[in-house]
């Protein structure tokens, strides 16, 4: 009995530790400035205001940053999914000479291991030469490349779980290879596809370094960069920052909740099945 209480207590403690900081930020976004700086810290006893949200998204350009983040995330995820899934299918089902399929998969995965800064510097120079700095296109392209290894690796795992029998039956029944892929295999990996898509969306949405390096102007800035830009400069308007931060969090939390069944698997690159 005592053990049960101890464990529950521990659980609660962990939850509090995880969520309190976030809660605090949300309260800042809802407090008037005087309450923000109050001592003792006001955890619950304040009158909320939405002025910061208004200022962030209507007066200032955070609305535009939000839109840019959304567009870049969705388009790059879609591209990565299509390109990556086809490659994953080929690498799972077809045996290439000299174990190429295995080597390619590992090589693709290894590109995920690069520190971002290593490719950020040359990409900046490349984009500058191509005059693609400060464009959404450059971000979309880079994020697609960024997400591709993950898509290939995850989808390989999901494809491997579909028994080969089913595709063979489809072939004998008269379907073409690609027809079998679309009609028989894809419906079966649909949950995995969705989970992978969500992961890519989350990663793209949260991404900071490449966006920071490749976009400097309002037109192309993503939400994280927009938020950061204000923090590192002169006067810090915490209310506005927190409001933007709170909004930036929302899609993530929604997605994470929806996909939490596959979460552990995705985060550990398929090594551990949650």
């Amino acid at each position: 009995m005592r053990k049960g209480i101890f464990k529950t207590g521990l659980l609660v403690l962990a939850l509090v530790a995880a969520l309190t900081p976030v809660y605090w930020m949300i309260t800042i976004s809802l407090k008037i400035e005087r309450d923000q700086f109050a001592y003792p810290p006001k955890w619950f006893s304040f009158t909320p205001t939405i002025q910061h949200y208004y200022e962030a998204f209507v007066t200032r350009s955070f609305g535009q940053y939000l839109l840019t983040s959304a567009i870049v995330a969705v388009v790059s995820t879609a591209c990565a999914l299509v390109i990556g899934t086809l490659a994953a299918y080929a690498l799972t089902r077809f045996q290439l000479p000299y174990n190429l399929d295995r080597k390619l998969s590992l090589w693709i995965l290894s590109t995920r291991m690069f520190p971002a800064i290593v490719t950020a510097v040359p990409l900046f120079l490349m984009m500058r030469d191509l005059r693609l700095l400060n464009t959404r296109a450059s971000l979309i392209v880079v994020y697609t490349a960024f997400n591709l290894p993950f898509v290939v690796w995850m989808m390989r795992g999901f494809f491997a779980e579909v028994p080969r029998d089913l595709e063979e039956a489809a072939l004998v029944d008269g379907d073409s290879r690609l027809g079998a892929l679309v009609r028989v295999v894809l419906p079966l990996v649909a949950p995995g596809l969705a989970a992978t898509a969500v992961f890519c969306l989350i990663v793209s949405w949260n991404e900071f370094l490449f966006a920071l390096v490749l976009t400097q102007t309002d037109a192309a800035m993503t939400l994280p960069v927009g938020i950061a830009g204000r923090v590192t400069q002169y006067e810090i308007k915490w209310g506005v920052m927190s409001a933007a931060g709170a909004v930036a969090m929302i899609p993530i939390l929604v997605f994470a909740l929806a996909m939490q069944r596959y979460l552990v698997r995705g985060l550990s690159l398929g090594a551990v099945k949650g």
Binding site: L91, V121, W205
Partner: protein, 299 residues
């Protein structure tokens, strides 16, 4: 049958090209945006612009050896990685072991624990800047309420405290990840070995050492590998939280490279440092992967 059951066997002449066609777009994208930049980077790391044009030189690499900033940044990164990894691993493992059981509301619990690691790193930075603000941050405020003298707790303004703070933030953000992966690993261990150990009369510590740990090894290795990779290349949170400050106190290698490239426009030198960082992460990951491979072979 001496061939893998996974693969398709029959490929007519026409179909032989199909796998290559399917893989080509992915390869093209990666070559253009991951591999080519690497070579570009290596190229500029070996070049220098002089009065008479561009020359090939090892000057940047030579500079590395004497650049105190670089060496300090590397030390910072190493200390940071080891400290954060240790805390995260110990905490995560302890939590996983203690909470390894069926519990009600697991989905809610898991989802809540996810929050720290799912947040955009920028938001994490903001959250903690707010908390750590010496004057109106909740941490100092709460400590003051409890009677602690917070005069000297100027978190982000004092070099040593800033370093600790930065590590603490990472631990806050990523311990849930370690916990979740290790928990999943624990729950994947079948009951039988435990039952056999019980019948054989082994103590709790013995069971832990000889049953739990070995079977948990793959999950542990993966978690350590992923966290190490992430810790070595950390950038975002530090950038927002302290910008590498105060002074140079929390300057980690990624930040130093960033600064060299984008504040001082010294791209060649930045590229040389990137190369070293890449080599380092490769060596580390290869080490882990080899350990993993040996693990898999034992099964």
């Amino acid at each position: 049958m001496p061939r893998s059951k996974r693969f398709f066997s029959a490929l007519n002449r026409r179909e032989l090209l199909l796998p290559y066609v399917l893989v080509a777009p992915a390869l093209a994208v990666l070559l253009a945006l991951s591999i080519y930049p690497l070579f570009y980077s290596i190229a500029i790391s070996l070049q220098q612009e002089t009065a008479s044009g561009i020359v090939w030189t090892l000057a940047h690499f030579k500079r590395l050896a004497t650049d105190n900033f670089f060496l300090t940044a590397m030390v910072h990164t190493f200390v940071y990685a080891v400290a954060a990894l240790t805390c995260e691993f110990v905490l995560g493992l302890a939590l996983a072991l203690l909470l390894n059981q069926q519990m009600r509301g697991r989905a809610v619990f898991r989802a809540s624990l996810l929050v720290p690691m799912m947040l955009p790193t920028v938001v994490v930075g903001i959250v903690w800047r707010l908390l750590l603000n010496p004057n109106f941050g909740a941490i100092n405020g709460t400590l003051k309420q409890l009677g602690v003298n917070t005069e000297s707790l100027t978190w982000t303004a004092s070099p040593r405290l800033a370093f600790v703070a930065v590590i603490a933030v990472d631990v806050w953000q990523w311990t849930p990840f370690v916990f979740l992966v290790l928990l999943a690993g624990l729950q994947a261990i079948p009951q039988e070995p435990y039952e056999a150990a019980l019948i054989d009369g082994s103590s709790r510590w013995q069971t832990f050492r000889h049953v739990t740990l070995p079977l948990l090894k793959p999950a542990i290795l993966i978690v350590l590998l992923l966290r190490t990779m992430d810790l070595l290349r950390v950038f975002d949170q530090i950038f927002i939280l302290t910008e590498g400050g105060p002074g140079f106190a929390t300057e980690l290698i990624s930040l130093y490279i960033y600064r060299t490239a984008f504040r001082f426009s010294d791209f060649g030198y930045a590229a040389a440092m990137s190369f070293v960082l890449l080599a380092l992460t490769n060596i580390v990951s290869l080490g882990y992967l080899r350990l993993l491979r040996d693990e898999k072979r034992n099964f």
